[in-house]
Structures are given as C-alpha cells and as structure tokens.
C-alpha cells in the first residue's frame, strides 16, 4: 500500500496500523516558509527508541525556527529541499510504501510526513538505552583486549571494523524473522573467504523462517549441519578479536542483533580448543598452555568413567598401595561405585547450574557450601568415598579449562554416556565408548569441513596450529581448512633471506 497525498489520511492509517500503540509519539507542526503557504507536517516515532535531543535539535529546531526560505534553485522539489538542506542528520531516506514506513518506525527511525507529498522521510536518530562494551564473561583472557560484543549490532560491527580497516570487509545485512524483523549481518572479507562458503551460509540463512530471532543461538541451531550431535558445529564467540582472527583466516562470521555472541563458520574441534590468548603470549607459553588444555579436556572427559571401570572391573590395574587404600575407604559405602560416581557427577552439574542462576554474591557461597561442606559431610557420612571427591574435583577443574562454553557442554553430556557404558562393560566399554565418540566426531562436518580437521583427514600444514602453535614466523600461511583464496598471510622474505644465506655458506 502506498502513502496517500493527504497527511490526515496518512496519520490515521499509521495510527491504525500500529494499533494506536501507547509508545507511539505523534508530533504535528506547521512549516512557515516565506515564499509558500503554511504546510502541515507530522513526526512519528517510538518513544524510547529515538534520541530526544536529536529530535529537538536536528529536526524540530531547523524546521520550525531556523529555515525560512525555500529556494527552488537549490532543490527541485520541496521534499528534496527538506532532505538535503534542512535536516542536519546523517542518514535520511525516502519511503513511499506504507509497510516500509511502519518497519522504519519499528526499527527506531523518525518518520516525517509532509502534507501533499506521497513520500515520507525516514530519519535515523536511533538512540535507546543499551549495555555498553564490557569485558568478556565466558572467554576472559589475561593478556589481550578486554572488550566483548554487546547487544546492539551497530556496536558489534564497530568493534570488528575498528580492528579490520580492510575495504574488502563486507557486512551483508539480512532481515530475518516474520514478526521480529531482526537484523543479521553476514561478515566476511571479499577476495579472501571462499565464495562457495559465503554462498552456502547465505543460502542457509535465507531459508530461516521463524517468528523472531532472540539470539545467535537460534540461527546456530537452525543452520547447523547435524542437530543430533552433542557437539556444536558453529563456533560462538563474544570476543571481537577472535572473530576478526577468524575473518582473516577466511572464515565467515554471522552477527545477530541483540546477541553478544557472534558465530564463526566453518568450526572444527581444533578451532574451538583455542583461546585468543594463545596468539598473544609467546609461543613456548602458548604451547605449554595448549598441551595442558588438551590433556585436561581428556581428563575431564574420561576420569569418572576410568574410575568406575578400574574400581569395579579392573582393580589389578591400580597400584597396590592405592588399590588397598581405595578398597579401605570404599569399605562400608552402601552404593556400588557407578552409583557413587553418577551421583557425585550429577551433584557437580547441579552446583554448576545453581551457581549460574543464583545472584552473584550468593553464587560464590554455593560453591563453598556445595563443594567443601557437602563434599566433606558426604564422606564423613559414608555416602561417598574420599577418592570419589578427588575424581569429581578433578573433572570439574579440568572441565573449566576448555575455552569455549558451548564445546564444554558437548563434552559434559558425552561424559555421562561414557560413565554409563563403563559401568556396564568396564575398560572395554570405555574403549568402545571412546571409539564411538571418535567415530561420531569424524562424521561431523561444519559447512563441508571435517570436524576433526586437521587430524582427520590429516592436514600436515594445519597441524602447526593445533595442539602445538608454531612461532609466528612459521605461520606464514593461512590454515587450509577454510580454503581461503589468498593462502599467504605473511611476507616470505625473511625465510628467503635465510635460504640465501645458507646457499652462500
């Protein structure tokens, strides 16, 4: 439906279409210009979504007081004159469709209707209250930038743009959501990210048909490759530096308005085991931490099931002294070891979840109360053995080393699967379970990239940035799993010089 020429009718239509909503503001005024008769105008906007001072200073002030002369030599039509000479706002557009006008009001623009014109002006003076840029909550680092994404898309795009002044950086905006009309931005570097990858992401995004997208989690779950798996095949990050690092590797980022988590594709297990800090500290430290991280994630994954299978199936594999002391402490405990382990692991999950839900100050207390007091009391009461408390504590501590929250979820869930199969089949079961997990991981793909890359299929080039991170001067090429168009990321002259020196000598 097009706008009408008569302003009264337009006002009525808009009011009617927006159900005369209580937060809708209508400001009617007249333009008193010297050369022409009085013109009736109206402003429409949503109350708390625009900056009131801007509306006053940049729209009402010039139109009502400052500008008195309409000069036909300056602009062809009156509406062009207002747009070009009167409004001191950066982004002003014209709109003739009623639907577009309505959507424009909803996104926080001010609509200026002028009597006699079929066109409405959309003036961008968005200004709502939002959370500022804060330090990351789930991916904190010690060395490295401390800013993280916030809810407004504009801020998030700024955070990326500030780090990457590449003119090839593309922010492709897609509006999704039948009712929400939420903005989603597809970010990539043109001439670097593989066009097929971009096309695939775009295709999958455009297929989304939901009411509203409240967080990037919606997008992730709708476009992921395998919804069965406990593992996520899209990487999420609240760190702009991590997203930029992904972009320059040739990956594609998806940012969702109102979500502080950006998505990165393709994502592999390897890429999610890395923390941005690995690249900021020197390589010996980075390698040390990375190796520990890989060991720790394995520990968190198998320790409880290893405990179950050793204690209830193969005690001859425990060193004698330890076996005797475990047997002694388990003596008199009414539950079999697998019940004990499942019980304790479940209460660990309980504590974790409770810690998140409880208000900050109490959250700390629940850790102490739950971990120390209940743990100690359970041992004294003879419900669990002390060695089980150690096992649970180790699992918990090692679990927190995994840098991505989403990935650690997958591992936490599969841990219970391993515990159940170990309590049925012992070490044999644990081996079977691990093989099953390995098989499953090997079948996963993320936008055509194997989830276990670079280990399976083996990519020797990419191995230099997996469990081991090579020093920067050895990372001259981008990782290959992204199929980036430009494989080189560092000048190679240093190595050429070295080779030349070698030849001379």
């Amino acid at each position: 439906m097009k706008l009408s020429k008569r302003i009264e009718q337009n006002i009525e239509t808009i009011k009617h279409e927006l159900q005369n909503s209580s937060d809708l503001v209508l400001r009617e005024f007249d333009l008193n210009f010297n050369q022409i008769p009085k013109i009736h105008c109206a402003l429409f906007y949503l109350e708390a979504m625009v900056s009131n001072s801007q509306v006053t200073n940049a729209i009402l002030q010039p139109l009502m007081h400052e500008i008195r002369d309409f000069d036909e030599r300056v602009s062809t039509t009156f509406i062009k004159f207002i747009q070009e000479s009167a409004l001191t706002i950066g982004e002003v557009g014209e709109e003739t469709e009623l639907d577009k006008v309505l959507l424009s009001i909803m996104t926080g623009n001010v609509i200026l209707l002028i009597d006699g014109a079929r066109t409405a002006l959309t003036i961008d003076v968005k200004g709502w209250k939002h959370r500022g840029v804060e330090s990351p909550q789930t991916e904190a680092v010690i060395r490295g930038p401390r800013d993280s994404f916030s809810e407004p898309l504009t801020i998030n795009l700024t955070l990326i743009r500030r780090r990457l002044r590449d003119p090839d950086l593309v922010f492709e905006r897609i509006t999704l959501g039948k009712r929400g009309h939420n903005d989603i931005v597809l970010a990539y570097i043109k001439n670097l990210a593989h066009p097929d990858l971009i096309a695939e992401v775009r295709k999958r995004l455009q297929k989304i048909e939901v009411d509203v997208i409240l967080d990037s989690g919606y997008v992730e779950q709708i476009i992921e490759d395998d919804w069965w798996s406990p593992f996520n095949t899209l990487q999420d990050s609240e760190r702009p530096d991590e997203v930029v690092a992904g972009l320059v590797e040739g990956r594609v980022a998806i940012l969702v308005d109102n979500s502080p988590f950006a998505l990165l594709v393709p994502a592999t297990l390897n890429s999610q085991m890395m923390s941005p800090e690995d690249y900021y500290v020197r390589w010996p430290a980075a390698n040390f931490i990375r190796i520990i991280r890989f060991i720790a994630s394995f520990v968190a994954f198998v320790t409880p099931s290893l405990y179950i299978s050793l204690v209830s199936f193969h005690p001859e594999m425990i060193p004698t002294q330890l076996a005797l002391s475990i047997a002694a402490t388990r003596d008199g405990i009414p539950f079999p070891s697998y019940v004990e382990a499942l019980m304790m692991e479940l209460s660990l999950e309980l504590l974790r979840e409770a810690g998140i839900r409880l208000p900050g100050a109490i959250g700390q207390t629940i850790g102490i109360v739950g971990g120390l007091i209940i743990g100690d009391a359970a041992v004294r009461a003879g419900i669990v053995s002390p060695i089980m408390v150690i096992v649970v504590a180790m699992t918990a501590i090692a679990g927190f080393i995994i840098p991505t929250y989403t990935l650690s979820f997958g591992l936490r869930i599969s841990r219970f699967f391993l515990m159940i199969i170990s309590s049925l089949l012992g070490l044999y079961g644990l081996t079977l379970g691990l093989l099953l997990m390995l098989g499953h991981l090997a079948t996963l793909t993320s936008f055509g990239v194997s989830y276990l890359s670079p280990w399976a299929p083996l990519n020797i080039h990419d191995l230099r940035d997996s469990i081991i991170r090579s020093p920067w001067h050895r990372l001259k090429h981008r990782p290959q799993y992204t199929s980036a168009l430009d494989p080189t990321r560092q000048a190679t002259h240093t190595s050429k010089k070295r080779k030349a020196k070698k030849k001379q000598s």
Binding site: V311, S312, A328, P336, L424, G426
Partner: protein, 375 residues
C-alpha cells in the same frame, strides 16, 4: 520408528544384557598379597596359605594415629588337592572374591618343591589377572612361616619380600627374576633358578637361591654361586665385591655391568660359550690401618684380582651345573636361536649329553672408575 533410534535401542540392549558379568567393586574383593604352598604332614594334600591385608588399617586420615596398634594382616590356611578348589573354599569363608591381581609373591616350601612346582605354577599362569611381575620364591623350611614375619616398617611379609627382590637396594645376593622370567626358563626346559627365602620373627633373609631341575627343587646355591648366576642373567645392578690385594681388603662397589653370552659351534660340534662381563665401579673402602696410596699400578692389581674372583666363581658354578646335568641359565634358548639345526638334532638329550660337554670361555673386565678422595 526412526532407523537410528532403533539401532540405538539394539546396541543398548546388547550392552545391558551382556555387560556387568565381571563387575565387582573393589571393596567386594579380597586382595591376596602373597600365597604360600606347603606339603601337608601326611605328604598327600597341599596346604595353601594366604596373606591378606586388613583393609581398615590402610584407611588414612579420619581416625589417624592409632594405626600402629591395629591388626594389619590376616593369614589363613586350608588344605586340599587342587588350588582352584581351595581358592573357592577361601571365597566362601571370606564372602569376598579372591583377587590375585595384586599378589606380590608365590612362596613354595622346600618339601613341596622337591615334589615338583609345575602344578602350582599352572594355576597362576592360566589366570590372566595375575600380575606377571610377582616373584616366585622357594622357602627354606615351611613356606607359610614366612607370613609370620612382621617387620616394624613392613608388617605385610609379602610386600616386604617383594620389595627386597625388586632391587630396592642393589645387591648381588638375589636373583631378581619375576614370574614371567621364571616361566620363560621353566617352560623351555624345566630348569631355572629361584630366590631362597628364610624368615625370622622380625625379618626376612633373602640370600642364595634354589636350583630347579625338571620342575623339581634340586639343590641350594650359595651366595657366590648366586652372584655368578646374577652376572649370567645380567641382572646385577649393584653390590659390593671385596678383593684382597697384598693382605689389604678393597671394597669394590659395582655401578654398572653388562654381560654378553655368545654360543659358538666349533669343529666336530663342540659348543663353546663365551661369557663376556664388563663392569664399572668404584673403590669405596680400603680396609687398612695405614692409609694406602692408590697408584695406577695398584688399581691394575685390584682389577686383576676382581677379574679372577668373578671368573673363578663363574667356572665353579658352571661346572656345578654341568655335573648336575642341568641348564637353568638358558643356554638352550641361546643355542636354539643361534643354531636352530644343531638344537633340533640335540634337544632330546640336551641336558644329559650336550650340557656336560659344553666349554666355557669367561672374559671378565672390571674397571675401577675412581677410588674416592682422602682429604
């Protein structure tokens, strides 16, 4: 129903119905630290004795302190004709499954060993959960008496004995072979050498060894003979040899030795074994009233004396084996490897005919690295 879901259910059913059969919690098992076998007075039945730790005494923390006064082990015996049957009997008495996974020693009494040890070894060899690092020992006298020993720091005799045989302190007085090694020699030709143990109330004495011939105890070997065997087995990790030069005793501490044994089949099928011993060590003591100036000359003399001592021991021990027509040191294994044809021709009468005819060439090379410093 979805194919994947059906598959999952089938796998789960298979796992649940097939699993758990050998699941037995650690506290529902009885760890046997040591087993002793003796011959009953009548000479018919076996006496099987177990040494079991009392779990409560291993509990640390909560009670604390009083553990010294607690009973730390239980020794129980039964008689019977088959080991499996006796083990089942023990399980009924203890209402716990016997676990041989942590068994440290199997001790066989002298009298029983004379009758044969093959039947006893079989039960443990057949059980895959038995740790192969355990020690097979021959006791002088009754084997079960060993468990009566309660040393102050090691109340459990089995672990005490095991630690001594596991070369915690380097010595040449024992054979450190474990169950697997002993089995290798026994299964080859029925001969081997096992450590000898004797117990008093407060300590165990491990010295010398027992010569097993055709799965039967044959003779005791003295300490010097045992040392020679240890050199042949290449298990010497330390120990002290005393050499007397010009009426002064010099103590030589062995730091590292390597022994190489090579068979050589000469003309007219004469088998010659070259035993090459290289040892490095230090002089740690000069037992003399006046300080002795250790010159290069003296060092050469001591080295020559050491070479002579070991070579003499070696010849003496090997001669004894030849006279007893036994091959406990695996000469047959080496011959089979090097001269399979010769071995196949002679394996039937190996111990009776070939062993007494073997010639031995012993080369010893003892090196003194340093003699210590006198300030």
């Amino acid at each position: 129903m979805n194919y994947r879901f059906r598959l999952l259910i089938i796998i789960l059913l298979a796992v649940i119905s097939a699993g758990c059969w050998d699941s037995k919690d650690i506290d529902k098992r009885s760890f046997v630290m040591g087993v002793a076998f003796d011959l009953e007075k009548t000479g018919q039945d076996l006496v099987m004795t177990l040494e079991l730790p009392v779990l409560k005494s291993f509990e640390t923390g909560t009670d604390g302190g009083s553990s010294n006064t607690k009973k730390t082990k239980a020794v129980i015996s039964t008689t019977g004709t088959s080991i499996a049957k006796m083990a089942a009997g023990f399980e009924a008495r203890l209402w716990r499954e016997l676990s041989f996974g942590h068994t440290k020693v199997i001790i066989i009494g002298e009298e029983l060993a004379r009758e044969g040890i093959g039947e006893i070894i079989d039960f443990f060899d057949r059980n895959p959960k038995v740790e192969r690092r355990l020690k097979l020992v021959i006791a002088q006298g009754e084997a079960r008496d060993i468990f009566k020993t309660a040393a102050v720091r090691e109340p459990i005799a089995s672990t005490y004995l095991y630690q001594m045989l596991e070369v915690v302190t380097p010595t040449t007085r024992v054979i450190t072979h474990n169950f697997q090694d002993s089995l290798r020699y026994l299964e080859h030709n029925g001969d081997t050498i096992l450590p000898r143990v004797r117990g008093t109330d407060e300590e165990l004495i491990v010295a010398g060894s027992a010569l097993i011939k055709d799965y039967k105890f044959n003779a005791w070997l003295g300490e010097n003979e045992t040392r020679a065997v240890a050199f042949i087995f290449n298990t010497v990790l330390g120990g002290v040899i005393t050499a007397n030069v010009d009426n002064i005793n010099y103590s030589y501490a062995i730091r590292k030795t390597t022994t190489k044994i090579r068979p050589q089949l000469g003309d007219n099928n004469q088998l010659v074994f070259t035993i090459d011993i290289n040892a490095k060590g230090d002089i740690t003591e000069v037992f003399s009233e006046v300080p002795v100036n250790i010159t290069e000359d003296l060092i050469k003399k001591i080295q020559a004396k050491l070479n002579q001592i070991i070579a003499d021991d070696m010849h003496h021990t090997l001669k004894k084996f030849q006279e007893l027509k036994t091959d406990p040191i695996g000469l047959s294994i080496l011959t089979k490897r090097r001269y399979p044809k010769f071995w196949n021709q002679n394996k039937a009468h190996w111990k009776e005919v070939i062993v007494p005819e073997i010639k031995f060439e012993v080369k010893t090379n003892f090196i003194i690295r340093h003699a210590g410093i006198l300030s």
